[in-house]
């Protein structure tokens, strides 16, 4: 529909993309601003530390996430064993637990003065110098905690990949003398690699952006370094420079992932593939598989959940009313952000579609990458940018003749800072989802409607919207949950009297008042379960429709 939309509409994607571009640009500006000023000595000496820790963490988490996500996905997708149908969706549940919550709960459980070691000492009569117990507040510990809450991304993408493996190729491999194991490594894995790599990239990005969990485990990564430079050293330049380095690292990962993915683009065969015959594991083998698949679920969800439940019941937040207050803040913030994200994403994608111009695609692509910005980084950009905005506004206000009270910090000091900050990051989720939903609406419907005299607005209202209801709701839900769980950006951007559940939990836990934080943490997990369950349902329904033609292959002899 080139030319149908007036030029004015071009502003919309542009403005939306600015939400991501401006904060990032501001960070870069601060970073290079004082080119003459040398790197702060305190930061410089730690740079190697940060780099090694961050790199080490990413590697460990990557390996563990693959170990947790790929074998379980394979077993669940292609085998039958006791507990399979429950594990199929339950393995997604750790997504509901933010890494920092898992860190608080697990370190509390396993520390020296915690219940596990206490029980061990009681029942074996040993005292502290007699035994060795792994310490979770270390880099490997942090890696385990992060991997156990993030592996579902790998699990999900592996499941989707495995579900679309060409059945005949897998069976051909068997007839060519390769048993199940060799078939897995030489056929299934290579074909699934692009999808698994995409899931892994997401896991690593989240790891690099993590703040609460690594801080609790006393691991110094770029994310904690940025935070410390900003607040502890009050050095904007140092924080900005660290941010730039971190963003470059993340960009490198994204580029690698993209390169790996496009090299394999032609591998997707066009043949429709029916799902493979599931192998039934009987007896001991089946139970062992069940137990092994339960491990990631246990570490990432059941253990932390159980500990928090115990603490909440045992002590709980003394003032449950305040949990309600913070919860309400979280909910309103989440709901508002969800609505805004859906609206903005829809505007962006709709105008892109209606204009069919390539230049707009750039804006869409840029905005998607807002998700790659870690919380502390975007917070720096947003608060600085809004601060400048505020000063400008105040100057304008003051220049108007007449006596009045000063305007104050209407942008950077209000909820607007939070709302903007969230959009910077979470439009990166909303846009791909809405984009995918739009992709399923055939362009020809648009054309047909236009030839019949419908205006672009009409097309949007009558052709697009009805098909977008469910995806819009799902998108809003995902953004909602991510906002409720978000921590570092919220810490840095929030205004007067506005604490969210996440902030409250973080504050209490860092004062070792975990028992008081437990209730709030459980609420966060409960809210987080919603998208995990939605995703899980989608997984199983996809499986069902594909398998419509095939019966359960369990054959009784």
């Amino acid at each position: 529909m080139v030319g149908r939309l007036t030029r004015v509409w071009l502003l919309v994607p542009f403005a939306i993309a600015m939400i991501v571009v401006v904060p990032l640009g501001v960070v870069f500006t601060i970073a290079v601003g004082d080119a003459s000023e040398a790197w702060d000595h305190r930061v410089e000496t730690r740079l190697l530390d940060y780099s090694l820790s961050t790199l080490g963490l990413a590697v460990f988490v990557g390996i563990l996430a693959l170990a947790f996500g790929v074998p379980t996905a394979w077993r669940v997708q292609t085998h039958r064993f006791p507990g399979r149908s429950m594990l199929s969706w339950a393995l997604m549940l750790p997504l509901a637990v933010p890494a920092y919550v898992a860190a608080y709960a697990l370190t509390d459980l396993f520390q020296f003065s915690g219940p596990v070691q206490g029980w061990m000492r009681e029942h074996t009569g040993r005292s502290r110098s007699d035994y060795w117990f792994p310490d979770l507040r270390t880099l490997p510990g942090a890696a385990l905690i992060l991997a156990s809450t993030l592996y579902p991304y790998v699990y999900l993408s592996a499941r989707v990949a495995f579900a679309s493996l060409p059945r005949s190729a897998m069976e051909a491999s068997r007839t060519l003398g390769s048993g199940p194991i060799r078939t897995f490594f030489f056929v299934a894995l290579p074909l699934s690699r692009p999808a698994i790599v995409a899931g892994l990239a997401l896991v690593i990005m989240e790891t690099l952006a993590d703040f609460g969990a690594v801080q609790h485990c006393a691991v110094d990564t770029f994310a904690t370094g940025i935070y410390r430079a900003w607040y502890g050293m009050d050095s904007q330049a140092a924080a900005a420079r660290l941010s730039v380095l971190l963003v470059l690292g993340i960009a490198a990962i994204l580029v690698t992932e993209w390169a790996l993915r496009t090299r394999r683009a032609h591998h997707h065969n066009t043949h429709r593939s029916a799902p493979m015959t599931p192998r039934t594991l009987r007896g001991i083998g089946g139970w062992i598989t069940c137990a092994a698949c339960c491990i990631p679920l246990f570490v990432g969800f059941a253990l932390p959940g159980a500990r928090l439940l115990y603490l909440a019941i045992d002590r709980g937040d003394r003032k449950l009313a305040s949990v309600f207050d913070y919860g309400l803040n979280s909910l309103m913030l989440g709901a508002g952000s969800g609505v805004i994200a859906v609206v903005l994403a829809t505007c962006m994608v709709a105008t892109h579609r209606a204009s069919a111009g390539h230049s707009m695609g750039v804006f869409k692509a840029i905005t998607r990458y807002g998700y790659a910005l870690p919380g502390p980084v975007l917070a720096i950009g947003v608060i600085t940018a809004l601060g400048w905005g505020d000063r400008t506004l105040n100057d304008l206000w003051a220049s108007i003749p007449g006596e009045r009270a000063r305007l104050g910090l209407v942008l950077s000091g209000s909820i607007i800072a939070l709302l903007v900050g969230y959009q910077t990051r979470f439009l990166g989720i909303a846009i791909p989802l809405i984009d995918a939903a739009y992709g399923r609406i055939n362009h020809r419907l648009d054309d047909a409607a236009r030839t019949l005299g419908m205006s672009p607005a009409g097309v949007f209202a009558h052709i697009h919207l009805p098909n977008l209801r469910a995806p819009m709701f799902a998108t809003g839900l995902f953004v909602f949950v991510d906002v409720v769980k978000e921590l570092p950006a919220t810490l840095m951007l929030r205004p007067f009297n506005y604490d969210t559940l996440a902030v409250r939990v973080y504050q209490l836990a860092s004062e070792e008042r975990l028992d008081e934080a437990a209730t709030g943490a459980l609420v966060i997990v409960a809210i987080g379960m919603l998208p995990a369950l939605v995703l899980a349902r989608r997984l199983s329904s996809k499986h069902r429709t594909l398998g419509a033609g095939l019966h359960n292959e369990e054959v009784s002899a």
Partner: protein, 217 residues
Amino acid sequence: MISDTCSQGLRISRLTFGYGRSTPIIEDLNIEVAPGTLHTVVGPSGCGKTTLLRLIAGLERARQGKIYVNGRQVAGEQLHLQPEKRNVGFVFQDCALFPHLTAERNVSFGIRGRRRRERRMIASRLLDRFGLTDHTDAMPHTLSGGQLQRVAIARSLARNPTVMLFDEPFCNLEVSQRAAIRRDIFEALKADRIATVLVTHDPDEVNEYEDDRTDLS
């Protein structure tokens, strides 16, 4: 009664198969395919032709009956030899080439126990035999339907099977190509004394190499 010629080749005895507990699709089937002969199986869609091939290959498990490949029992009461151990060549309807491997690597996939160079040589020779020398290092998505099929056949032959199974090999090909394929392939199979089973839904299809026929309708 086990005749001499059928201690080789393929022998199916009283084969019965069905899904779950429903009525069996295949009941009490007996087929003998001698080495170097071509046996056609016809019947409408859903009558179990493909399933029969899958049973022979070991991709499905029979309810009752016995299957012998090259004199060795591979399926029977309590016995179900896994597909990878049966050495039965299977050419799938969609050729089922590995999309991530070149033609040559596809063909050498099943060859075991030799160095990479040897495997490549064997694979290249097979591809030459089917006129695919120029496409040795081509990726499957660049090949035509007929070429794909030849690669698939070469791939299965690389393991020197004694039994070869074809699932509707001609339905994706132009009529003009079919005669050529039949000539190239079935002559080679006969020459190598391989017992071949071919499944087709078209009973009128004429195959000059056919030796025997079973109708499952």
